[in-house]
Symmetry: C2
Subunit: 359 residues, 2 copies
Amino acid sequence: MDFDTGELSERKKLILKSIIEAHIKLGEPVGSKYLMQEANIPYSSATIRNEMAELEELGYLEQPHTSAGRVPSELGYRFYVDSLVQEYDMTTKEAAELNKMLSVKMSEIDKILDNATKVASAITNYTALSLRPRPSSIMIKRYETVYLDSRSFVLIMIASAQDTVKTKNVKLPFDVTKDDIAKLSEVLNDVLAGVSVDNINISLMMRMESEMPGCPELVGIVVKSIYETMNELGSEIKFEGVNRLLQYPEYKDIDKLQKMLSAIEDKDDIVKAVSTIDQSDDETKVFIGSENMVKIMDDSTLIYKNLKLNGKTIGAIGIIGPCRMDYSKVLSTIDKLSDEINHLSENNLLPGALREDKD
Amino acid sequence: MDFDTGELSERKKLILKSIIEAHIKLGEPVGSKYLMQEANIPYSSATIRNEMAELEELGYLEQPHTSAGRVPSELGYRFYVDSLVQEYDMTTKEAAELNKMLSVKMSEIDKILDNATKVASAITNYTALSLRPRPSSIMIKRYETVYLDSRSFVLIMIASAQDTVKTKNVKLPFDVTKDDIAKLSEVLNDVLAGVSVDNINISLMMRMESEMPGCPELVGIVVKSIYETMNELGSEIKFEGVNRLLQYPEYKDIDKLQKMLSAIEDKDDIVKAVSTIDQSDDETKVFIGSENMVKIMDDSTLIYKNLKLNGKTIGAIGIIGPCRMDYSKVLSTIDKLSDEINHLSENNLLPGALREDKD
DNA sequence: ATTTAGCAGTCAAACAAAAAGAGTGCTAAA
DNA sequence: TTTAGCACTCTTTTTGTTTGACTGCTAAAT
């Protein structure tokens, strides 16, 4: 038994610290057995129990109910923060990330898209997303092909940005030989390596066709795949108002919400899905439920529209929500918004907006 | 019974439209009784049931289970979007808001704060917030006082920005008369009306004291209230990573989550709480549970620190999470971050950052 | 004087069974 | 063709029961 000098014995401190840290890690009440076995406290559970009872009396711990373990009280956390917590050493990786993120700058286009997303989300009360298409600088450094069978092969692309590798399964409407596919990679590396998307033109395609006397039809199909991949690669997607999902009972089920949120967190699938939409398409697209290309979002609706500034597509905006979405409101908001952005440019409100387009 | 020409009878269309719109509004399966009573379909529930059964057969509706109402199928939504939905007329208020929001520009300081919040949230994996303090231009246009009793009165302030009215209940540690309070409003309007916060100085306070021979002690107390109110008024708060809350079991309970989210949505309470923190304070503050000034957040922890750039406080950053927060990590992240931002200015990475400080 | 083993007691969480409620489909009458 | 009425189905809610975790206490061991 300690003299009640207000100071805790070292053993009490150890136990208190262990309980708090275990609780922080696990989120559940901590019992005496756990402390003995997992936290390596060198006393029997009975002894620990006695100490815990005293710590509770002193106000550092609480018991949610009789037969539960102990949980730190506010006083316990306070004591921990004031005298028990140890400095955490940030890993160099984390420190670097911190620095990198801090110095990010936004282009004018990004700002427009960002604002548009915020407005869209605020007005419709759904989650909004914006897609910034690939910068024109993106390119494939090297191509590889792997023959699968006479009607399909794998196209492997190594991109300039951070050496990302993308693979694509290409299916063909006609038969090819192993040699055709081998020749293809040769020609691709010869003609297209290091060429940016926007510079892929008819002339290059014709050159490739002439270099592939065996199977010129391949060229058109492959170039389309390359184009799609490049779009996916460079695209940047952002979300706004994710928390608005919570208002809708379809996401009251934590699991569904999690599913949706992880799709949003991942971004990749959504980017991929949305990248397939033709960038010059002016229509507002509505993807209901499974029409949606992201499997995980098959009970949500995505409404999507390309945004133009001076006739040039600068990105796209979308709304995600439950299938039972207020279509009328969302559709008109998106349309109004895209109109308004076009006006922005006409009124010259954003001088230099297009200048900064290429990052 | 309709001939199966692929066309729906008007009555079917009406019922389908009603079901979809009711379901969009309520989020629950729609029954025949509801349609008859609430959606004013001029047929008996039995008739409506027959039509519903046919609409289901045609694929426009679905039944979650035998004894439930109907829910639109994807095909139903598709049909609705393609031919039933009516254009929604945006109210002029909404249109105006849209325009206003679209043309918002961010100051350099805002960008720094925004980035810092994102980084903080990403690294700690908790929700982060940033607080941008009042622009120095904010001021009170007019003051009113209402005497309550000898030890308290109400101070009413009409602010320059959008004529916002704020009232504050002021309690006194000494007795005053009704005349003192009346005189106070006179003096306040005389000396402080139209003066921006930063220009309230000792000289002005002394002038007020000399004009209030009856009770000079009032001045100091009142000025403090005014100062606090102005801080609340102009402050802008932003959140980042709200969805991260979901990872923690304490917010798995939808109710708790909602409570938290509504506190975040409202902003007001949090701004008020955080505004009371002295802006020149350099310490990292930890508010655990009920230490927190926002009642609704009394089982969460707020960690908070002022950010300085060139020695001047430009705002503050905070982390919100469950009480069982990884204090060690959060504390070091916040400290590192505020250091880093100080370095930003030293390295001159952000020319003109301070120039744009006043909006 | 401490520490520990063992056991009875308590309470939440998990499971199972029963009752209530909502909405349908069908039949027969209007 | 429409409607009233009733039996039926399936979810939701309620109620009761079991299980399991952890404690507090007592008595023995160090």
